[in-house]
Symmetry: D2
C-alpha cells in the first residue's frame, strides 16, 4: 500500500499516517519529494485493509493498494496452469473442452435426445438445469432431484461428465451425488455463505461471473472457495450488464486473456447466456475460443420452440455440429487440441 499526502500536508498529519500504519503492523517508508510526501507500507497484511480508512485522514491525497487481495487464485503464487481432472476429462490443459445440453432438464427423453447429438458432435460434458433461478416467481423452476437423476443416467449412457447449477447450499449434498461439476450462477457469485460451503466439498466448481462483478471480485469469490480447501475452481464468463440492452448481456471476451494472466485457473465461456440470442451464439463461440477460452458451455435443444426455458438462445443440434466443425479448424491455430 502506498499513501500519497497532499502537497501541503503538515508534519503532524504525516506522523499520524505513519503511526496508524505501524499500529497495523506495517513498516512505513517515507519518501519526501519536492512536491509531496509519499509513504510506502511494507510488510503487514493489506488483504483486509480498507483503503478508505487512510483516505479520510487529514492531509492524505490518496491511498493505493499495490498488492492484489487474493492469493490462492493468483498466478503470482502458482505460475503453471491448473488442470482440473473431471473423471478423465481435463480442463485447463491443451484440449479445449465442450460442455453442451439443454437449458433445463425437462424429461429423460428430451435430455437423451440432446445428449446423444452433442456427444456425437464431440462434447465431453453434459449441461442441464435441475434447479433453475428464475426472475419471476411464477416461472418453471426445474425438476429438482428428478432432473439430477436424468442427467446422471444420460451422462453415463453417452460417457459424458455432468455439470449442473446449484442455487443454495442446501442443494449441494444431493447434487454432489449426481453431478461432476457444480455450477455457481451469476446471481450467487457473491453469496458468501454458499461459497464457504463449496470450499468444503471436493467436486470442481464452475464459477460464473456476477452480472456486474469486476475481475478482482470474481477472483475473490474463487479465493473464498479455495480458502476452504477446494482448489478445483473454473471461471465462466457469461456476459456482464452494460447500457446496451439489445443482447441479454455484453460478453466481455477480453476477460478470457485477462483472467488467464491474473490466475492459473481455467476459464470457460458461455455464449448462450452471454448473448441470449440464438443467432449470436455461434459467432461468439468462435470468438471466445479464438481468444483462448479453455472450453465453452452451450445450450442446445432439439425442439427449442417448446423448451421450458431459454429456447430462444438454444442452438439446434445441427448448428452445434456445424460450430464444432468450425472450432476444429480454429483451435489448432492457438496451438491447442480439439476435444472431439
Amino acid at each position: 500500500m502506498v499513501i500519497a499526502m497532499e502537497p501541503n500536508a503538515t508534519e503532524e498529519q504525516i506522523s499520524a499516517v505513519i503511526a496508524r500504519l505501524e499500529l497495523l503492523g506495517f513498516d512505513a517508508h517515507r519518501s519526501t519529494g519536492t512536491e509531496r510526501t509519499v509513504i510506502g507500507a511494507i510488510g503487514g497484511d493489506t488483504h483486509t485493509i480498507d483503503l478508505r480508512d487512510f483516505e479520510i485522514m487529514s492531509g492524505v491525497a490518496e491511498a493505493v493498494r499495490i498488492t492484489v487481495p487474493y492469493k490462492l487464485a493468483s498466478r503470482t503464487f502458482q505460475h503453471e496452469d491448473s488442470v482440473i481432472d473431471v473423471g478423465g476429462v481435463k480442463i485447463g490443459g491443451p484440449e479445449v473442452i465442450m460442455m453442451a445440453g439443454p437449458c433445463s432438464v425437462e424429461s429423460l427423453d428430451q435430455t437423451r435426445t440432446i445428449a446423444e447429438r452433442v456427444a456425437k458432435a464431440g462434447a465431453k460434458i453434459l449441461r442441464g438445469g435441475a434447479f433453475k433461478p428464475r426472475t419471476s416467481p411464477y416461472s418453471f423452476a426445474g425438476l429438482g432431484e428428478k432432473g439430477l437423476e436424468i442427467l446422471r443416467t444420460v451422462g453415463d449412457e453417452f460417457d459424458l461428465r455432468v455439470v449442473t447449477e446449484v442455487m443454495d447450499k442446501d442443494q449441494i449434498s444431493v447434487t454432489v451425488q449426481y453431478a461432476d461439476i457444480i455450477q455457481v450462477g451469476a446471481r450467487n457469485m457473491q453469496n458468501f455463505t454458499f461459497l464457504r460451503e463449496l470450499g468444503t466439498i471436493r467436486k470442481p466448481v464452475l464459477l460464473k461471473r456476477g452480472m456486474s462483478a469486476t475481475y478482482e471480485e470474481w477472483l475473490m469469490s474463487a479465493e473464498y472457495i479455495m480458502a476452504g480447501g477446494n482448489h478445483n475452481v473454473m471461471f465462466c464468463e457469461r456476459g456482464i450488464r452494460t447500457f446496451e440492452t439489445y443482447t441479454r448481456n455484453t460478453m466481455d471476451i477480453a476477460a478470457i486473456p485477462v483472467i488467464k494472466k491474473l490466475s492459473h485457473l481455467p476459464i470457460i465461456a458461455d455464449p448462450s447466456q452471454g448473448t441470449g440470442i440464438r443467432a449470436k451464439v455461434v459467432p461468439l463461440s468462435r470468438a471466445a475460443v479464438a481468444a483462448g477460452a479453455d472450453g465453452l458451455i452451450i445450450e442446445v435443444h432439439h425442439d427449442p420452440d417448446h423448451a421450458l426455458s431459454d429456447g430462444a438462445q438454444s442452438l439446434y443440434p445441427d448448428q452445434f455440429e456445424e460450430l464444432m466443425q468450425q472450432l476444429s479448424h480454429i483451435i489448432p491455430v492457438l496451438g491447442r487440441t480439439f476435444c472431439a
Copy 2:
C-alpha cells in the same frame, strides 16, 4: 404483448405468429398498416412469456411486453401507499423514519454507546450487522447470534426497533427471534431460494437493490417475497455500479420517485453504502429525503477509526445529530413529518 412484423413479412409468417399466440392462450388482434402488420396479444399470461421466443420467428421485427411482469408489488393493483407497522413505528406513512447504528455490532458497549446517541437524536430503528457479507474470506464476518442478542438488548433499552441483515435462509429462524426487520443485502437480491423463504415469515423485509438491478428486477424480487404471503416489503436504494469508481457506488436518487410511482411499497435510502465516503453521507442524506424517501438507514460510529468494518463511511454521532437538525427543516417542505 405486441408483435411487429417486418415490412416484407409473408402471410405465412404472420399466420405462424398468430398460431403460436393462440396456442399460448392469447387472442391475436391483427392490424394491417401500409408499411407493416402489427399483432396485439390480448388476454393470456404475459408474466411468464419469453419475448425472445417471438423475436426469433421469421418475419418478426420486434416483440414488446406492454404489461409489467409483477403484480402484487405494482401500484396498478393497489393505489394507496402501503404503510408497514414495525412495533408501532410506521414506515411509508407521513413520517420520515430514521434507522441508524454501527455497520457491525462489535460489542455491547459499542452498540449501546452508539444507540444512545442516535435514539436521542431521533432515530426510531437501530441498525447493526451480526452476519456480515465480506468480499474477502479473510475479513471479520460478524458476531452472529451474540450480535443479535446485543441488538435486541440495546434496542429495548432505548425503545428502538431493530433491523439487521440475514445472509442465508438458515439464519432466518434465529434472526426473527431478535430482529424486527430482516434486511436482504444487495448481493442476495436475486437469491431466489432465500426470497421464497422470506415469503413464509411475517416480519417486514428491507430489500436492498442489487448492484446492477433494474427497477423491474428489483420489483420482481419483492414480488417473490409477496407471492409467498409476506406483503411487508420495503425497498432500499443503496447505490448501483457504474463506470465511476470515485464513490463506492453511484446513488440513483431518481429511483426514489420512480419506485414510489411504480409501487405502493415504501422506499428507504442508504447513503452510507451508496457513497462509501463519510463526507458524502450528509449531502446525499439530505438529497434522498428531499427526493421523497420514506426513511434513511445510516451508519454511525462513535470511534470509526477503530471500527471493524466500514469505519470510513460511518458518521460521528455529532454529524448525525446535525444531519437530523437539517432534515427537520427539509421534511416539512414535502408535507411530511419528522420522526424525532
Copy 3:
C-alpha cells in the same frame, strides 16, 4: 507515480524501471520490502505520462498515478471557491442561482411568455436552445441566430442573463454577441478542438458532463478551457448513462459534493436532462440543491404538448413556481441564500 514490482522481480528489471523514470526526469526512490520492491517517482511531470508504458515492462505489477492530471481546475491549487460573475449574477457564491426557460427557442412569443413566468418566480438566467443537437437528422435543429436574438431581447426585457448551447466552434463568434454563458453539451465534452477554442474567449462556460465521463475526464475538459486562459468554467451534472433505461439518464447527485471537493469551480445540476421525465424533475431538483448544487438549470414550457423538443421533461410554469417555493425553504438549511 508509484511503481510496484512483482514479488519475484529481478534486479535487472528494477534497474530498467529506474532508468526509464530518470530518463523522463523523475527522481526514483526505491523501497525494498520483504515481499516486493516499490519505486516512487518524485518530481517530473506525471501529467502526460501513460501509466501503461510502465505496466507492460517486465517485472512490474502495477503503476499508480498519485497526483491528479489536472491543475488549474484543482482545489489543491486554489483553495477558495471560484465565484463567476455573470453581469452581476454571482455563481458559486452564497446564492443558489436558478436558470430556466424552454428547451428550444421556438418564437419570440413563446420565449417571452416563459421568461416572464420564470423571472417572476426568481430565475436569474434564461436558458433556451438556438442550436439543437438531435440524435435524428430529421428532427428540428433550432432557429440558429434568430433564436439567439430572441433570447437576448427577452433576457434584457426581464433582466435575465442568457445561457445557450453552442455545438461547434464556428458558432462561438455569433453566440458570444448575444449570450452571457456558453453551454457545452454532453456530447461535446471531449470535443477538444472546441474546448481549446473556448479557452480563447472570456465568456463563462457551462460544461455539461459527458454521458459516460468520469470525474477526472470532466475536470480535464475544464482544464482544457482554463489552459487556454478562460478560467470562468462551471460544471453541470446532467445524468450519466447506466444500465437503467427507465429514466433518460441516471443523475449522479454525489457528483455535486465530489466535484466541490476536487475543484474550486461551481457546479450546476440539470434535472430536466438528468431524468427526462417531467414528474421526476421536481424531486431531483430538490435533491440537487439539498446536496449542495450552486444552481439549477431547468426546462420550463407553458405549452409542453406543443413544444418542438423535449416537452415531456419540461415543467409547467406553475410547477416551477412551486418548486421555487420549496427551494426557498431548503436552501437556508445549507447556510446559503435563495436567489429570488
Copy 4:
C-alpha cells in the same frame, strides 16, 4: 408505434391519445382487450416522434416504438451487403481487410519503417494519426498537415490506402486531399455538425462507436452522414465504457454480428483501442475476425517504448506478422478470404 393504456384508463383518456395520434398524421387502430386497451399507430412518421410525449398523458401505461428510427443505414431497406471500394480495396465483401500503422505519425522514417512491415504482412490500408484527440491539453496533439503528407507519401510507396482521424469539420477539406478514408473518433460520434459535413463529401467514413453509444445511436449517426448523401460509411467497434477498468474499454464483440444484422454497412474492429493493452490485442483480434468482422484496424510500432502516444497498446511488427499468420487460418472457416 403502440400505446398501451392503463387497465383503468377512461374513454376520455383513450380518445385523447387517439386525437393526438391523428393530429400527428397517424391512423389509430384500437384493440380493446379484457384487461386493457392498446392503440396501434399506423402510417405517419415515427422517426421524429418523442415517445415520452405519449407516456406522460393520463391513462397511458407505455408507448413503444416498433419501427427503428433509421432508414438508410437499415438492412430492412437494403438487403445486400454494402461493399465500399477504397481505390480498389473492397471493404464489406468476401475479403477481410487489415488496416495497420502507428497510433501517431511521428516522422517520415517512423511511418515508412512501420508501413513497410505491415504492407509486407498483408495490410491493405495504412492507419496513422495526424490530428490526435488527447484527454490532457498538455499532451502531444499530432503533426497536422505534415502528418497527412507523410501518410500519403508512405501509403503510395507501399500501395496502401490511407485512413486517418479528423477531429473537426475544419480539418475535412485538407484531409480529403491526402487520405482515402476519414475516421470519426469515439468522442465525435455524436458531433452532429461534423456528421452533417461528412455527408457532403464522397470519401468513405470510418465511424467509431461512441464510448457509451447504443447500437441505435450508432446507426443514427451513420444515418446523419448518409442523409447528407455520403453512403460510404463503415462502423468501427472500439470498446465501450463499463464498470470494469482493468482494460481501457470493454470490447463488445457481439456488436459485430448484431450490426451486420441490423445494417448492410461493413463493420471493422479496433482491438488496440478496445483493450488498451498490447498483450490483449492479438487474442481480441482473432476473436473479432472469428465473430465476423469485415476488417481490423491495429496499432503497430517498431519502437513502442519511444512512441509519442499509446505505445503500450501497439504491437511489434513481429507480433503483427504472427497475428496475420493466425488469421489466415481462421478466416477461411467463415467462408471468407484473407486479404494478404
